[in-house]
Symmetry: C2
Subunit: 333 residues, 2 copies
């Protein structure tokens, strides 16, 4: 098992031509059973492995797809990426992961690189605000799908996302259901399309319960300012607040720790619910209610559609919305 064997070596060793070896390997074309066995035997003995560079060059296909993701240390992104990668591998594709850090220039640089590598497809998770595949010269040809944030050009693309709106609606409803009369929403400063949908869900639940939404009264935004101090101010001026829907679990956990520091009891004084169902939600005190995104399904649907595009079986343009699930825990008892 020393040298690297090429198809030519296999041909020689098994006394057939390279064409035949290729046919046997790919099980395509005509050859006798006898030849098959002969060739396969030599392949096993030598430990021959296809040289993908050559194969890619010839077939103009790379059996690899790129994933653009803003931040892989984010739980939701990491989970989706992980699951996508797993499915793709099963389908014979390898995955090139690119961390864009929400930087448009980086996004562009990665796109160029990926195109150079001849990727067969692309998955863009929560791409830049103005994500536009045409920014890269001829990229227009690379099949791609978007997850979590709509691309600039809504036509001719497949977009997959959780039902953030419904999740937020359910979450806020659950605050009301557990006795909250005056819930607010806690957001962070980064804009995202999912965040916008969640905000919309919160508003609609509010109005459904007869409360008009007013940004200055019903929304707080976490900034670099110390969260505890900010919460203290807010609760002093609006002591009626008795429920908080946090735009995601990171925010929720920050809010929770602030509330506890301020001597508030959760859920007795204030109900709290987050979004994303991160693992630590089960281990906060009290445990944190949340909304779970179906990452399995997102990944599955994403890969299915991408591979569909790659094999150009239907270049449909559509938005696919994946249902979410409410995960009630102690913070909304």
């Amino acid at each position: 098992m020393d040298k690297k064997y090429s198809i030519k070596d296999i041909a020689q060793l098994s006394g057939v031509s390279v064409a035949t070896v290729s046919r046997v390997i790919n099980d395509n074309g005509r050859f006798s059973e006898e030849t098959r066995k002969k060739v396969l035997k030599v392949i096993k003995e030598t430990g021959y492995q296809t040289n993908f560079s050559a194969k890619n060059l010839r077939m103009n296909k790379s059996f690899s797809v790129g994933i653009l993701v803003p931040d892989i240390s984010n739980y939701f992104f990491a989970t989706v990426v992980q699951k996508i990668e797993k499915i793709l591998f099963k389908c014979g594709y390898s995955t090139i992961i690119c961390n864009t850090a929400r930087d448009e220039d980086k996004e562009l640089a990665y796109l160029k690189m990926l195109e150079s590598k001849g990727i067969d497809g692309l998955i863009v998770i929560s791409g830049a605000k103005a994500f536009d595949i045409n920014k890269v010269s001829s990229s227009s040809k690379i099949p791609f799908i978007c997850i979590d944030r709509k691309p600039k050009d809504k036509k001719n693309t497949i977009f997959i996302a959780s039902d953030h709106y419904q999740g937020a609606l359910d979450a806020t409803d659950s605050l009301f259901n557990s006795g909250s009369k005056h819930p607010i929403i806690a957001t962070h400063k980064h804009y995202s399309s999912s965040g916008a949908d969640r905000l919309r869900g919160f508003k609609d639940s509010l109005e459904k319960h007869g409360l008009p939404f007013d940004t200055s009264r019903n929304q707080i935004t976490l900034t670099t300012e110390n969260t505890t101090i900010k919460m203290e101010k807010v609760l002093k001026s609006q002591p009626e607040i008795d429920g908080i829907f946090a735009i995601n679990d990171t925010v929720a956990i920050e809010v929770l720790s602030a509330l506890l520091k301020l001597g508030k009891s959760v859920p007795n004084d204030i109900k709290l619910i987050g979004f994303d169902d991160e693992p630590q939600d089960k281990h906060t005190y009290p445990t944190l209610s949340s909304v779970k995104q179906d990452t399995d399904r997102i990944a599955q649907v994403a890969v299915e559609n991408l591979i569909g595009l790659i094999n150009s079986t239907g270049i449909t343009s559509e938005s696919i919305i994946i249902p979410v699930e409410l995960m009630p825990r102690d913070s909304t008892l």
Copy 2:
């Protein structure tokens, strides 16, 4: 910007030979300044991009490296991978990330795929117990480095890890320093070499403070059993316990929530410290002391060494230990 241009097109359009175009692109070989400008102009106009499959085939180099990682949704792994990817990209390499899920068969399958793709190098993060690159036929030639877990064959490999031993020693010392007299260690059921080092650090700190280590008295292991119930039993039989060093932050947070549920005050009744310095440590209540691994340095050293190996400038075999930093917070006040 429609069709895909090859070097041949560029040659034609700029009135030179393909060889010259290649020379200009790679700035290697001889050509006049005039020619350079001409060619570069055409390249810019056409939006030409190298076909890496061809280049790889010819040069027998793929400008890509593989990363084997057990679980990318784990914070430490995700952070390291992210940083490695960033540095590699700057060095002109793309990264193929492979999630092994701690499954040896998968590890092997990925290894085969990576070899087929002709990766130039490999980074193995916390590989399987018996990680052995020779399991894949001719892989022996792929330069690789290991992070976090030593490979089977310690010779002729570069191994990079945090100073888990020292971190655990410092962490346990800090329990004593904040007044704990009878600390224990909380571990989980998965074995890891880093875990073993951390356990060693705990033991040595104990002995330094005049306490002999006894597994049955000084160590609890979290299993699928409910942590709160387990903790209750332990605290009933050993009420003297007043400090816990958790093998990592996930365990620490689970323990913390159990303690709070049992009505214990942290840090007043029991001091607690974890390991890894995950972001949520700052937002638990009380905030969680921990030990921070220097992921920046790990990534930097890893890439430097790997690229060193790839360019075979020194095939030194060594273990590189990266210092850690104690992050004291409220749970060990």
